[in-house]
């Protein structure tokens, strides 16, 4: 009898521990993410790209814009891992430094468009009615213009510098955030805890920022990680067209663009920047996919 009692107490104690143990939800999400091998692979590469962007000097001893005309068109070797280009610049070093440009554009663009898009979407979803209609029709107009075309016209009008490129790309991706946010605000607005928050005398702003938006975060985070990849692609695309980052700043798109004249004789000039673009986009997409599955297991098919 006593033994049974003891056992019962032990069971009670252990179940208490489970209930008390920290941030269960976050742990669960991280666990689900870690089980997804592709996503972890994506995360590792993303982490590497970020480190390369922050500390490029760790990886290469060459200056990415120093020209050495005696060392033009050298094939990949232990001295120059990816070879050299038409001005004798080390391609490996340019690819690594190019990381910084791409990450900068990608992250800043996502930050700007995310904040603007989320605010528009939240206001539209929360107040509905006329406000919703006006804001969403404005977003529809943005969506109706092809992103690249919008980017080209904005950069062409303002001049091709990195800040202008960021402005152009940000405007293009606001629409996605606004839509995603509006939908989840609409579904969160009807929940009982929002009604309960009203009954405690909370103001609209407090309800939006403390009760509604935190519960809409998952889709917004996913949208953000996924759109980093798209943004990097658009930025390199614009640079390829000569509308993005001005030379001699190392940038993958403009490197591929200037190298395409030599594609028959010197394959390494165009291949490595291309691979870099592909790897970056691929890894951010893998990471975003994994994050979506981890944050919302119901979405998984």
């Amino acid at each position: 009898m006593a033994a049974i009692k003891n056992k019962k107490q032990a069971v009670n104690a252990s179940s208490n521990e489970v209930a008390v143990g920290g941030h269960g939800q976050a742990k669960e999400i991280i666990g689900r993410f870690m089980r997804n091998k592709a996503a972890v692979f994506g995360l590792v590469i993303v982490a590497f790209l970020l480190i390369a962007a922050m500390f490029p000097q760790l990886f290469t001893k060459y200056d990415p814009i120093a020209q050495d005309l005696r060392a033009r068109f050298l094939p990949p070797s232990s001295e120059h891992l990816f070879g050299t280009d038409e001005y004798g610049r080390d391609i490996f070093s340019r690819v690594i430094y190019g990381c910084r440009t791409s990450m900068e554009i990608g992250l800043v663009t996502v930050a700007i468009s995310c904040v603007v898009g989320v605010v528009i979407g939240a206001v539209a979803g929360f107040y509905s009615g006329v406000t919703d209609n006006v804001l969403m029709r404005f977003i529809d107009i943005l969506m109706a213009i092809p992103n690249t075309l919008l980017g080209i016209s904005i950069v062409a009008a303002l001049g091709s510098t990195i800040p202008n490129l960021i402005i152009a790309l940000s405007i293009g991706s606001i629409a996605g955030y606004a839509r995603v946010t509006r939908v989840s605000v609409l579904s969160t607005k009807g929940t009982e805890y929002v009604e309960a928050a009203y009954s405690t005398g909370a103001s609209d702003a407090r309800i939006i920022f403390k009760y509604i938006l935190p519960n809409c975060l998952a889709p917004i985070i996913v949208q953000a990680t996924m759109s980093i990849a798209t943004t990097i692609m658009s930025a390199t695309g614009l640079s390829f067209l000569g509308l993005g980052v001005p030379p001699p700043t190392p940038e993958w798109g403009s490197m591929a663009s200037s190298a395409r004249a030599y594609i028959r004789d010197y394959w390494w000039l165009v291949t490595f920047p291309g691979l870099a673009i592909m790897t970056a986009a691929f890894s951010f997409n893998l990471f975003g996919d994994g994050l979506r599955d981890a944050l919302d297991p119901k979405l998984k098919t």
Partner: protein
């Protein structure tokens, strides 16, 4: 004579649904004294929650609209208050407990923060003080204060309802509206939560408006009862009036639907039929269609609201001319 905390006079609330108008509340009049508890009993769709939301000023508009009547809180008409003034009253003077504790808490905030939030909204205290008060409130409702840093999903249903009660009582309101506070809980937890509400009500001298469809719950907690049907109060009186001498056929029907421990009854007597469509309320008595004692008088004209004994009101033609 003690003062009336809440007085509702002839309240009408309508919802517009496309072409139809749903007449949810049709002339409800009731009053609540300080420290008193009133049970509002009725079936689903009778207008109980609508009445509660009207008091809080939270009727979703559109589609809902208060079309008539007064809601007096300490003699002041809440319908004339601005949204800003109402925000100060909600949670501070009048609090509400919701039906389902599972969904009434924000899943992204710790319970301590959620209690502290109400305190900070209505009282001039620092964040740390508010959090300390939140912990004390948790102890009051019987949850260890040390669990303030946990999230709602780490608590069971009954404990969540205790947290909801702690939020509602954190600013020591004069009026507590409990909208079916025990419906989502199992019977053993129901008893605990009711006891807690009862005990805290006495401790803080709060008036209580308890909304429920469970006559047993009312018997346990309330001193006055209002039976509501199709947006009208059909019978109103003290606990003794209603339970010893149920007079309206609907009230009698409600008691007939509850098993009695002292008698051997093989079959319960349910009330036949359904509540009338609130978009097409019949002329005359709304209950007439389902009433075994209905006569021609019931089918047309307004039904008299008669005081059959002091403080015991019944809305039925049966008692016409038998006023006390």
């Amino acid at each position: 004579m003690s003062e009336n905390i809440l007085e509702i006079k002839d309240l009408y609330v309508q919802y517009s649904a496309g072409k139809d108008t749903v007449r949810a509340v049709n002339g409800i009049t009731l009053s609540l004294e300080k420290g008193e508890s009133l049970g509002l009993v009725g079936e689903t769709g009778a207008g109980k929650t609508t009445t509660a939301l009207s008091i809080m000023g939270l009727i979703p508009n559109p589609p809902g609209k208060i079309t008539g009547g007064e809601i007096l809180y300490r003699g002041e008409n809440l319908r004339e208050k601005s949204e800003k003034e109402m925000r100060k009253i909600r949670g501070h003077e009048i609090s509400m407990i919701f039906q389902d504790p599972m969904t009434a808490l924000n899943p992204m905030l710790t319970v301590g923060d959620q209690i502290a939030e109400v305190i900070r909204l209505h009282q001039n205290v620092t964040k740390a003080e508010a959090f300390q008060r939140a912990k004390e409130m948790m102890e009051v409702v019987g949850i260890e204060g040390g669990r303030a840093n946990e999230y709602p999903h780490q608590f069971s249903g009954g404990m969540k309802q205790r947290i909801v009660i702690a939020i509602a009582l954190a600013c020591n309101p004069s009026l507590l509206i409990a909208d079916e506070p025990t419906t989502a809980l199992d019977v053993t937890i129901q008893a605990q939560v009711l006891e807690l509400i009862e005990q805290l009500k006495r401790k803080y001298d709060t008036s209580l408006l308890l909304i429920t469809h469970d006559l047993g719950v009312v018997a346990e907690v309330c001193n006055k009862v209002a039976i509501i049907y199709a947006g009208e109060i059909v019978e109103y009186g003290t606990l003794a009036h209603i339970y010893k001498n149920p007079s309206h056929p609907y009230t009698i029907g409600l008691f007939g639907s509850i098993p009695n421990l002292n008698e051997t009854v093989t079959r319960l007597k349910p009330i036949p039929g359904l509540m009338p469509d609130p978009t097409k309320l019949p002329e005359g008595c709304a209950f007439a269609e389902r009433c075994g004692e209905a006569c021609e008088k019931c089918m047309k004209g307004a039904v008299p609201y008669i005081e059959i004994e002091p403080g015991h009101m019944v809305r039925c033609t049966k008692f016409a001319g038998k006023e006390n």
